[in-house]
Amino acid sequence: MVKARYQTAFRLYPYEKVADQDTPAPKRHSVVIIGGGPVGMGLALDLGKKGIDCLVLDDHDGVGQGSRAICFAKRTLEICDRLGCGDPMVDKGVVWNLGRVYRDESEIYAFNLLPEEGHKRPAFINLQQPYFEQFLVEEIRRQQAKGAPVEIRGQNLLTSLTQNDDHILLDVETPDGPYQIEAEYLVACDGASSPTREMMGLGFGGRVFEDNFLIADIKMQADFPTERRFWFDPPFNRGETALMHKQPDDVWRLDFQMGWDIDRKAELAPEKIKSRVRGMIGEDIPFELVWTSIYTFRCCSMEEYRHGRVFFAGDSAHQVSPFGARGCNGGMQDVDNLAWKLAAVIKGEAPDALLESYHIERKHGALENIKNSSRTADFLTPRNPAHALFRDAVLDLVEKHDFARPLVNSGRLSVPCTYDDSPLNAEDGLPQGPARSRPGSPVVDAPLGDGFLLDRLKGDGFTLLSINCDLPADVEVAGHHIRTLSIRAEGDLIAERYLGDAPAAVLLIRPDQHVAGRWPTYNARALDEAFNTAMGRT
């Protein structure tokens, strides 16, 4: 038996018996992914597109109900563009760039999350998580039709695993009983309470925050603005905070801070929730409750994201408070980082050391996310009188003085991580160039011709980008043929973001669109060395 832990919104991969269940010897797969959430499906799609045989095991047969994650950041959309499913997300999603912060009844300030032009994707879209997952699965189906070796098995529950020298042996439970398979690599994408992590007896340390938040997603026809509106101490939730955010399908996310000592059951009664909602939106607008949940939060991380042939990605490896939208967006950066590395190692192009860099780079990213979301939590939920004192002082000052605006912390919204000090980075050959395109940074988008730069960097391998200088007709790097893109830039955003005062630049760009190295001109030797470094060969 495989028990249902939650209801599904869309049934996308009903259980079917497969040949693996009847084979005398366990069938071996290159990568087995545990968990079919956004991270698991994103990873399967990325690996499948790279021709890597991978199998997703999910103990349910579709996408879980409830909006859950709703804010998808620009970098996530760029990753999904690379994976081929950015368009349906942005078409369906609600685009927003503006945040407004209120105290009591008055606005204290507004901020634009993307105060610069020249990006294909907006700072954020709001989209219910089930849609996000559905679009990933639909793209997997399209890729399967083209021959991508991805398989999804619903109602397949991992019950135990044994690591061996060259594979992992998995015991899987199904409605037809148990069977075994082997995996060269296993990636646990099974969420914050990861059963895989439990099974392996691995820790998940961090901080619990003593506060409760009520989410009420409601459906209503209202002309409230498409902005993130955040309240400190509003009349309808005295002494606490509140948030209002628009989603597709006339659904609105309302989030009420509640404090620590609450009667959970009483607070979840629909009538009680409705009266809170009326306090916020007024008596006149009809609405219905779509999804409600009370959550507490913690900021935790595993020590190591790799254990032999087992990797942890997304919430199973690290968990953050929801403020800042750094959970799912952080998880998608894990996918972005791990897929090309696994593919390169499985294809025999890179040594095992490349896989070590997944832990190094993504732990760096997770700690950055935990730091930011913990700071927000400390601002929103003062833990002692001094915290409350300075929080109130900031809010007092911000009404009259601009200087205090940056101190208000209602969420430091997800931005992509720069892998400073990564072992995969080449020494910066253009140290006086713009800091935002230094080695380790994600490629920043910019208009290019009729389109955008990032649309030209969606290949599966490395790309050599040259700006205002020529490359040889056929570039071989450390024995590999490498894709090239030569462009011209002068006085435009590409020049501003990649050249600064330099007349020209050459950049080696990783498959996950992070900069591996940059130089003022084409230099075959430096490039060879940088490529080897970026492949974990040194």
């Binding site: 004192l389 300075f390 002082a393 007092d396 000052l397 003085h401 200087f403 205090a404 101190l407």
Partner: protein, 62 residues
């Protein structure tokens, strides 16, 4: 890099001290704390430099 100044630097020492006391005149304890918190934030913003502020925090807490 400018360091935290720990030698006398006030332009008008007694005038400043008197003004500081006057600002707290007639306030109850909560308002005193609130005033000082605002004052710290205003002065910190004026100083701006993280290393100086960290040094000041360390000296004040020692």
């Amino acid at each position: 890099m400018p360091d935290l100044i720990l030698t006398p630097n006030l332009e008008a020492t007694d005038d400043f001290y008197e003004a500081l006391l006057n600002a707290h005149e007639g306030l109850d304890e909560a308002d005193i704390h609130a005033l000082n918190a605002r004052l710290i934030l205003i002065l910190a913003n004026h100083i701006g430099k993280q290393s100086v502020l960290e040094e000041a925090l360390a000296v004040a807490g020692a």
